[in-house]
């Protein structure tokens, strides 16, 4: 089945600045497995250690301790010259593209082939083939400065694929691009994964990048992997505060405090947010199983005959399944509302913000929603599990 292609085993990377007494831990005891064929997202804020983590794969950075195994080789044990054949199996693209400015598009793409001592006519054929694949066949003679950002990244991808790598590392590859160009580049990366079966490791601080192309994700914070798993699972049942914040940037849903206050001003009834999870979330190393949610709302509203208004919400598909949250105002007498909310609460995760006359404090509402709710913060409960053991 799934075959590991990159394995981190208790990897630590420290940087020691001159004069600094204590070393800075950029990567702190990370254990992680990336399987062949994955599009693996690593997400975290800047400074979380994700760029360092990805550089440990091709050993641009050497770990302080722990081992990294890539394509069956313990790369931490290899010298610079022994790394060369492994590095030729790992393509890399960068936020700032890092194209050679004095070389043409074709020369940039041919550079790794020259390093690999390809025959000139083979080089030419391969360069043409690659530029055709990334849609830049007509730009061969141009210099990078004459290209747009999206074109530069496509040259970067062509160059990274030149020697038929098995792994592609993308370090914030879309962070310098506008939304349209980001879509183009992500679509291209998806093709790279699907057509060539290349395993892709995507480093990003943009949750929607993970959402769009990754099948698995690891969330990094302060050098540690705080959460990892299938993208749907992490999106549907985020356990860590940092993960929740990221998901809020990708999937709209739970209204923020100001919005709740506004809703209370405009709507007298009971303001309730229902979390939407199309599928159950399997139990993983970061938490127990979480049931689907919000799948029978319309039925229940109809059966109990409560009046409802749709006020706010957002639903997106992640890994092919819907995730999000919808906020309603439910009104009617308490005799109808009580059993309705009880039944809805049994089969869905609710955040009950109360009524305009009797509002529930925002944080209390999230806390009362229980551990299953996306807005609830269970930080600090699971120090034992934060090591990020591989599945």
């Amino acid at each position: 089945m799934s075959q590991p292609i990159i394995t981190f085993d208790h990897v630590v990377k420290e940087f020691r600045d001159r004069g600094a007494k204590r070393a800075f831990r950029a990567v702190d005891d990370v254990s992680l497995t990336i399987n062949r064929g994955d599009v693996f997202g690593v997400i975290g804020y800047s400074g979380a250690g994700k760029s360092t983590l990805v550089r440990l794969i091709n050993e641009l950075e050497r770990p302080t301790s722990g081992t990294v195994t890539v394509l069956g080789s313990n790369v931490t044990a290899l010298g610079e010259s022994q790394l060369r054949p492994i590095r030729q199996k790992i393509g890399m693209i960068f936020q700032q593209f890092n194209l050679f400015s004095t070389k043409t598009v074709a020369q940039n793409v041919a550079y790794p082939l020259q390093l690999d001592h390809w025959r000139k006519d083979y080089q030419d054929r391969r360069v043409a083939e690659l530029l055709e694949f990334v849609g830049l066949a007509d730009q061969t003679g141009k210099y990078p400065s004459q290209l747009s950002g999206g074109q530069k990244q496509r040259v970067g991808i062509a160059r990274a694929l030149a020697t038929n790598p098995e792994i592609l590392l993308a370090d914030e590859a879309t962070s310098a691009l506008d939304p349209d160009t980001t879509s183009e580049v992500l679509a291209l990366l998806k093709r790279v994964n699907e057509e060539f079966g290349i395993t892709i490791v995507v480093i990003t601080h943009q949750m929607n990048v993970v959402q769009r192309i990754a099948n698995r994700v690891a969330v990094m914070s302060a050098g540690r992997v705080v959460e990892s798993g299938d993208v749907y699972d992490v999106f549907a049942a985020p356990r860590e505060a940092v993960t929740k914040r990221f998901i809020a940037t990708a999937v709209d849903g739970v209204p923020e405090p100001e919005r709740v206050a506004q809703l209370h001003r405009d709507w007298p009834g009971r303001i309730v947010t229902v979390l939407i999870r199309q599928k159950d979330v399997a139990a993983g190393e970061h938490g127990d199983a979480v049931a689907a949610s919000g799948q029978n709302i319309s039925q229940l509203i109809a059966r109990h005959g409560v009046a409802s208004s749709l006020l706010y919400g957002g639903i997106d598909t992640v890994g092919g399944s819907a995730i999000g949250a919808i906020t309603y105002e439910f009104s009617g007498d308490e005799a109808r509302l009580r059993p309705f909310l009880d039944e809805l609460g049994r089969d869905s995760d609710l955040i009950d913000f109360g009524t305009a006359a009797c509002p529930v404090d925002y944080d209390a509402a999230l806390a009362a929603a229980g551990p299953r709710a996306a807005g609830a913060d269970r930080h600090g409960e699971r120090d034992e599990n934060e090591k990020g053991e591989p599945r």
Binding site: R84, F94, S101, T102, D116
Partner: protein, 239 residues
Amino acid sequence: MNAYPTNAMAEPVLLAARPTDWTVLKPLLFQSIGQTLEMVLITLVIGGFLGLVLGVVLYGTRPGNLFENAVVYRILDFIVNIIRPIPFIIFLAAMQPVTIAVVGTSIGTVAAIFPMVVMCTVATSRLVEQNLVPVDHGMIEAARAMGASKLTIIRTVLIPEALAPLILAYAFLFIGVLDMSAMAGYIGGGGLGNFAIAYGYQKFDQTVTWTAVIIMIVLVQVVQGIANAIAKRILKRQQ
């Protein structure tokens, strides 16, 4: 008869009145141009190459670079800093024992070239280092990620990326070396500097002095012009 006695200090007032005699001076001028070009080109080729190597080592051993080595960097940096600010005319005199030990004599063109090569190497190394520093580390990282060896990166990425400023740096060096050659001429290296001083300045013959000056200006202009044109062509692609 020779109107230009070798004793330059002899009766300058009388000599000043004499008109410039180009029939005698012309071959001397051509010989001087030849000597200058010889000194400058040999110095630039040897010192320029050694300086390139030393400059790459200085750059490479800097903290955070390919061959990071604080000890080597500090030692080389210190040596370069000591030699570079010495005025060349004093360096020439100070180096005399070393020159005699290496070349066998301290007089003549070859003897002049040795200290010029040393000074040129030191000056070049600093210029090369300074022009390599701005090269984007991302490109070096990209080449490393592709499996390029460090020497390959220097040859195929670092130097090509810094080529335009390096060419301008070498044009600047040409002028510096020309300046040095004029002073080296003074200790018997010959060349245009010596020609201007011996047959112009010391004979109160402004025509001779200015002839030498104009030839040097033309030389500098031609070299600078060529360098500018090449650098501009390279830069145009990069920007």
